[in-house]
Amino acid sequence: MPYYLDFSPGMFLVLAFAGYGLGAVGALAFWKHPRGAGWWSFGCAGLAAVGGLLSALSALTGAGRGAVCQVELPSLIAYIPLTLRLDALGAFFVLVVSLLGVAVSLYSLGYARELEGRKSVAALGAFYNVMLAAITLVFAAGNAFLFLIAWEVMALTAFLLVSFEYEKPETRDAGVLFFVMSHIGTGCLILGFLLLFQACGSYSFADFHNLGEKLPPGKRDAVFLLFLVGFGVKAGLVPLHIWLPAAHPVAPSNVSALMSGVLIKTGIYGMTRVFFDFLGAPPNWWGVTVLAIGTVSAVLGVLYALMEHDLKRLLAYHSIENIGIILMGLGAALMFLHSGHPALASLALLAGLYHTMNHAVFKALLFLGAGAVVQQTHTRNMEDMGGLARRMGWTSAFFLVGAAAISALPPLNGFVSEWLTYQSLLQGFGTTESLIRLMFPIGGALLALTGALAAACFVKAFGITFLAQPRGEGARRAREASCSMLLGQGLLTAACVFLGLCPILFLKVLDPVTQQLTGLQLSGQLNAADGLVLSTGKPEAGTISMAGVALAGLGLLLVPLVLWLALGRRTKARIGPTWDCGQQGLTPQMEYTATGFSKPIRMIFKALFRPRREVQREYDFSPFYATTIRFESHVEEVFQTRIYRPLNRQVLRLSRRLRVLQAGSLQAYLIYIFITLVVLLLFAL
């Protein structure tokens, strides 16, 4: 299909790539003018993202929805066709990335101002554009070659962006860890794709469709595992997640937002693509594995998040949690496909994809908020923050919406997708007679645990960061973020609310995706009453209407209003000091800390965290009147200390041992050759 000015998804997509390209090149052209570089690159990125948005929306809605849009770009290397192929699944993910692209680019316009003179805005802008383009290309690639190239370019730019503040050793290590893990994942992907290629002799995704049925079972399982690991690394599944909490926090915050929002979603995209599109009818254990890993990731992710007092690390751990929740949906969908319940599978898939969108929106929102906070306070340590709600009112409000959404509180979007997940798990209980079905309610219970812990975590994150008195100088001096930064956050906040209140509208957009993957369109069935009430397909099985809840809540505000008018109209509010037990006023040191806040959880899950604490007191007369107390508390990251570090040590030790081979002695070298010679001579006889 040619890509003239026909207002097709393909045209918008090509325009989007052109926009990102212009943004990247232009940013470099403005190397010496950071202001110009910022405006140009983020402006271009924003416009290009709008192009991507249009492309995705026109592919998913309107007359030709669900049609596969294919664009052949001219390729300069004979054996690599540059095929863009936007089907419904790809278009949905392009929608995710483009939506975030618009908001984050808007935010970056203001965010980059602060970097001027300190870091190269041009480099940031250029890499930012390339990363967005690469992520979009990952979703729009039509063959494995192009996909892998886009995948690696994405990893590369993400690495460069993570290493943006390369002066800090922490950043450097995080970048390397990210890149190494990512590359190992890519290795698995390469192998997986090549195994698929081996089976059909083509790289085209169109030819991979349902290819799994032609593979022998053993190989098919191998492909499944390879892709699970390969995409799992990028998605941050436990235990492949260790790069994520290291890398996301150190990147510039707009990049963190994109990384947590969409970069890790490329893993979800890949799994959905491969498991549902390529591999055909799944055996039961695939779904069980995915569901189990998802559940474990969700619980462990949120537990580790609770232990963090680095605001951005905390958010990064929450990404692991949410990826787990998404995978619970996907895993359940796989299990339903196996047991022959396509409608349920579609529901579970919808839950997963909906949560993908939601997580992208609220996590980006939270990272943008955290970015604004970090920019003002110059620290990521929550223990030095506080009191920001009074200083950064809008940012705190936006962050609060994000926090409520990620904690799955009604009436926001996080609740809707988790509700869908619960529903699919509940209904899944009846799909099979085997004991495996216990996984569904247990998964649901753990999902509830996850949600409640997430709420605890965000009470901590919001409460310690934004409420009470400032604990540090940076927080004391904080000012409201700039206008464009607020606009970017506001856009995402609006998206959070919209996705919560009007799920049916969004589910309509998802229809072509489920049509493609399971052959069913659900939005009609899920629509219970005029588009505002969402059901699970059977209205008697439960309905929700977040719009209704919100409206009813607003209506019920009448009750306090009436009570106030009736009884307390003449009351006055006086500002006074907080009760300080008769001391000389409260100081910030007396406030509850983030570490203190999560201590009960730390003690309850002692077995997992293996907390260590060191207390040193110095006192003059009595140990009860210490002059100084130093308190240190550590939580062990089990996967690092028990798996990765020993592994790393072993590899290094083995490598050092091998160095003996090259000990500098010419005699030894001659002996190597001599032995080779003798062996080969005997061999050649």
């Binding site: 390369y166 450097r172 390397v176 080969l680 050649a684």
Partner: protein, 492 residues
């Protein structure tokens, strides 16, 4: 115009013309011009080969087919880069008093001779002549390795010459056996010719036992020169101690030229035996080299040695790719040869700048934050390192993928997985090591050492070429590589 002869004479003349030269500038200019000329000749040769298939001159003494033409292109490109870089490099060395003018002249005389030797290797029709051309490259390069006359460089040179000469003695024995195999049991008269063009037509009639022996000896002999493990032990020493332009030449093409000689034996052996005898050896040694290189990269303490091990890795990959012996893998391996030739010199040039600025190649001594002192160098180095590690959009990603893909296509799954694993491991090593020195905070040091723009031309040219050919493989080049692959498959 006698293309082949000029290819040999132009650099030789440039080298000899440097003998009486008094000025470094003049010598550098001469070298550069000669390289430009050979590059032009190489391109012309490519056209001629594509047109005629085989080009011969001097009564078939010189002969070039697609494989030779491909090698000629690589040699000229890397030499051009090295000569562009060498001028300023030695100026800095002279300023720092690291070398005397006599030594610099030695470099500018020997490098073109080294180049001549390599051209001779790939253009010689006679297998015996090819042998002594390889020996000539070894002898000219060993003095280059010893140029700094430091203790360590003498040690490296000594190891290089001893292991190299011994290897070449074995290769000579292999050549002798090849001759004997060609003569066969019946003939009592002289072999009509020991020329490649003759041998390849007669190959199926060779004595099987002798050709096997001959290949094995050539494998060890030329393999030692090509740096295949376990004969590679000289390689990190020589690469790390030589002046950076020489390191670039050694790693960029010299290894491949030796491999070329080995491949000629491989083709003959395969043509004679018609079985996988030689390819399995290539595959085995290639894989072994790759797997051995990875841990050494991971715990290496010296920048240039690490780069040398990376070369070992790449040579291993090329060898394994050819050893897998499917059209796709051979194509990938040849492509990889080209991309590696464009990439590795950039790394060595950057390492040269770093060496001259920090007066050491030890990671520990260099410390972190090189980017603050040499931003441009670090930019090029990072890009080249990413390319060498196999990241897209650089071409090595494609060539590596092609090789693995070919392997899987031909059901050599285990081998492909091993290759992939080794590549992953070396990627991790390279990234981990370079991240120790390149990023980080540091105060810009005192003046001296490389300036910001030093070597930009050479590095930019090579890297630009890499990027260009990564995204655009011109049709003639593509055809040339395909024809070369056909030769290696034994189907030409």
């Amino acid at each position: 115009m006698p293309l082949l002869a000029s290819l040999i004479f132009v650099p030789a003349a440039a080298g000899l013309a440097c003998l009486p030269a008094r000025s470094r500038r003049v010598m550098a200019a001469l070298g550069g011009l000669a390289c430009l000329a050979t590059l032009a000749l190489g391109v012309a040769l490519m056209g001629r080969v594509l047109e005629q298939g085989v080009v011969t001159e001097w009564n078939e003494f010189l002969c070039a087919d697609a494989l030779s033409a491909w090698m000629v292109l690589l040699i000229s490109v890397v030499s051009l880069g090295a000569s562009l870089y060498a001028g300023r490099y030695f100026q800095r060395d002279l300023e720092a008093g690291a070398v005397t003018f006599g030594r610099v002249r030695e470099f500018f005389v020997l490098t073109p001779l080294f180049q001549t030797g390599m051209f001779f290797v790939v253009l010689a029709n006679n297998m015996g002549v090819m042998w002594f051309a390889v020996e000539a490259t070894a002898l000219s390069s060993v003095l280059l390795v010893a140029l700094y006359n430091r203790r360590t460089s003498l040690e490296a040179a000594w190891k290089y010459i001893i292991l190299g000469s011994l290897g070449l003695a074995l290769a000579l024995l292999g050549t002798v056996f090849l001759y004997a195999a060609a003569v066969g049991p019946q003939a009592h008269e002289k072999l009509p010719s020991f020329n490649w063009s003759h041998l390849i037509t007669e190959a199926p009639r060779f004595d099987h036992g002798l050709i096997k022996l001959s290949f094995v000896l050539a494998l060890i002999g030329y393999g030692a020169k090509a740096g295949l493990a376990p004969m590679h032990t000289w390689l990190p020493d020589a690469h790390s101690e030589a002046p950076s332009p020489t390191s670039a030449m050694l790693s960029g093409v010299s290894l491949k030229v030796a491999l070329y000689a080995l491949l000629r034996f491989h083709i003959l052996t395969t043509a004679c035996l018609g079985s996988g005898f030689s390819r399995h050896f290539l595959l085995g040694f290639g894989l072994f080299s790759m797997l051995l290189a990875a841990p050494f990269i991971l715990v290496q303490k010296n920048l240039k040695r690490m780069l040398a091990y990376s070369s070992l890795e790449h040579i291993g990959l090329i060898c394994a790719g050819i050893g897998m012996n499917t059209p796709v893998t051979i194509f990938g391996a040849l492509l990889h040869m080209g991309y590696h030739a464009l990439t590795k010199p950039v790394l060595f040039f950057a390492a040269g700048n770093i060496h001259q600025t920090f007066h050491s190649l030890e990671f520990r001594v260099i410390g972190r934050g090189v980017i603050k002192v040499l931003p441009v160098t670090v930019l090029f180095m990072s890009l080249a390192a990413l390319a060498a590690a196999g990241m897209p959009p650089f071409g090595m990603f494609l060539s590596e993928l092609t090789i693995i893909r070919g392997g899987l296509e031909a059901r050599q799954t285990a081998v492909s997985i091993l290759i992939l694993a080794a590549l992953l491991a070396s990627f991790c090593g390279l990234l981990q090591q370079l991240s120790r020195i390149l990023p980080g905070a540091r105060e810009p040091g005192p003046d001296g050492g490389a300036r910001r723009t030093d070597g930009v031309l050479a590095m930019g040219l090579m890297l630009g070429g890499l990027v260009l050919f990564s995204i655009w493989l011109p049709a003639p080049l593509y055809k040339l590589i395909q024809q070369t692959a056909l030769i290696l498959e034994g189907k030409s």
